[in-house]
Amino acid sequence: MDIQQILFIVLSAIAIGCALGVVFSRNPINSVLFLILTFFAISGHYILLNAQFLAVVNIIVYAGAIMVLFLFVIMLMNLNSDTEPQKNWLVQLAGAISGGILFLVLLSALVSATKTLPVMEQGSNDLGLIKNLGKTLFRDYVLPFEISSVLFLSAMIGAIVIGKKEDKFEDVH
């Protein structure tokens, strides 16, 4: 075993352990914290693959921005009703089945993807460096890049429409 394999195993163990922690925590704040740890472990994986830009963007955007949003949402909720209502066993069964099916779909997609895609060798390629990534993005993928900005625009409009509706609702009362 070389050092990369050991790091890979350690990071994977952290990622899976924390992901399980997200699911099994009773307190939503703990779930969020576990999710942040999971993102850090995944960033570690990116670094092992030499995708440095992706690793740091994963931390800035997911761990630093989206999880702040999640924390805000949880703080917005009323956490005094700590004990979640016991759900019907039928609902739980349905949830388990649909979750299991989703898992199978993802698994099969992953298996077929590993057959067709070339396996990335760890730490040997420079594609993930910011310089090369930028060149590829702004030479070969300019159109998707511009379209993504339209996507952001629509997301903004969606956020404003939902967020502002709340205000009007408050005004009526």
């Binding site: 075993m1 070389d2 050092i3 990369q4 050991i6 307190n27 704040i29 703990n30 914290l33 942040i36 440095q52 830009f53 740091v56 963007v57 931390i59 800035i60 761990a63 630093g64 921005a65 702040v68 924390l71 805000f72 703080m75 460096l129 910011i130 310089k131």
Partner: protein, 357 residues
């Protein structure tokens, strides 16, 4: 077997460097508290701390020692684990940014070894700083929320909202600088500002990007919760702010971490804009002294610039009144973000069409 080939001397060298940086950060933070009180005293025509040692120089040690031996109080209504996690995270994130700052030039020893005065030279150094800054919000948010105190909660939400708003303008303000440097590595940016005059123009980035520096500095003030943006700690509305329920060293960690953040962000500003460890006539000095003395002089120059910035932070605190919350948000979103975008577009156009003939 790569595992067996880990270079232990490399790890040892880095560990020593990291320990020195951590201890220096604590030392600077401790004496920044003393400096803050002295500066406040001078500006208000008082004496300030003068009992512990000469000119009160032992005051920070006395304060630190006191905090160590105080009773820890964890309020009953608080969420215990997260209450402890808050100051812990805040301090750890404060100590992480220093990893990518070049504290001096490489030392080429006579034996042919190269000793680097930077913990990690990664080619996305600036983004690493942003990553750590964006994670730094959690310390305040979690601490304030876990206290189960309304003042703390309000303060932490305000603080989080403020720092995410200013992160945007901060990120945008650096783009123009990066267009000129073409690199995200802090070490490379430091080396590009070599000396002071390159024959055409001053080499330090602040003379090439004054607007970018101004925006970055204002954002740094806001990220640090320093006056005039110290809304999370405004005494008249929120008592003490997000660390109201904290006592003993947990409070100490919050207070120290704020000063460490001030130290590190001064270092980042100096590295990016004010020529890092470079000074006028450094080539002459390098030719006339040996490598270690030269590196030492460079470190001292860097520290002097950082000290100047810390003093500037303190002067501002006792000069400008606090912003109102809506003024703060308006300045960040409606003022600085469009200004930074404008700066970026103008810089790009100027380089492409004016200077690149």
């Amino acid at each position: 077997m790569l595992l067996l080939q880990i270079d232990w001397s490399f790890l040892l060298e880095k560990s020593v460097l990291i320990l020195v940086i951590v201890l220096v950060s604590f030392g600077v933070a401790a004496y920044a508290t003393w400096g803050e009180r002295k500066v406040a005293a001078i500006m208000q025509d008082r004496l300030g701390p003068n009992r512990a040692g000469f000119m009160g120089l032992l005051q920070p040690l006395a304060d630190g020692g006191k905090l160590f031996f105080k009773e820890e109080i964890i309020p009953e209504g608080s969420t215990r684990t997260i209450f402890i996690l808050g100051p812990f995270l805040f301090m750890v994130t404060a100590l992480m940014t220093s990893a990518v700052i070049p504290w001096g030039p490489d030392i080429h020893t006579a034996a042919g070894n190269v000793i680097s005065l930077q913990v990690a030279d990664i080619n996305i150094g600036i983004l690493f700083v942003f990553g750590v800054v964006s994670v730094g919000v959690y310390g305040i948010m979690l601490g304030g929320w876990a206290s189960n105190n309304k003042f703390s909660l309000l303060s932490s939400i305000r603080s989080a909202s403020q720092s995410i708003s200013y992160e945007l303008a901060m990120g945008l303000s650096l783009i123009a600088l990066l267009m000129m440097s073409g690199s995200l590595s802090m070490r490379e940016i430091a080396q590009q500002q070599h000396g002071f005059w390159d024959g055409h123009w001053l080499t330090w980035n602040v003379f090439k990007q004054p607007l970018g520096f101004f925006i970055f500095m204002v954002c740094a003030f806001a990220e640090l919760n320093r006056a005039p943006f110290d809304l999370p700690e405004c005494e008249s509305e929120l008592n003490m702010g997000y660390h109201q329920e904290y006592s003993s060293m947990k409070l100490g960690l919050y207070l120290f971490a704020e000063y460490i953040n001030m130290f590190i962000s001064s270092a980042v500003m100096v590295t990016l804009f004010w020529g890092s460890y470079n000074f006028p006539g450094m080539d002459w000095v390098a030719a006339h002294t040996n490598a270690i003395v030269f590196a030492l002089i460079c470190v001292i120059v860097l520290m002097a610039k950082i000290t100047a910035f810390i003093l500037f932070f303190m002067f501002i605190r006792w000069t400008l009144p606090r912003f109102r919350y809506d003024q703060l948000m308006n300045l960040g979103w409606k003022g600085l973000i469009p200004l930074a975008l404008f700066n970026m577009v103008i810089t790009g156009a100027a380089i492409l069409w004016l200077f690149n003939k």
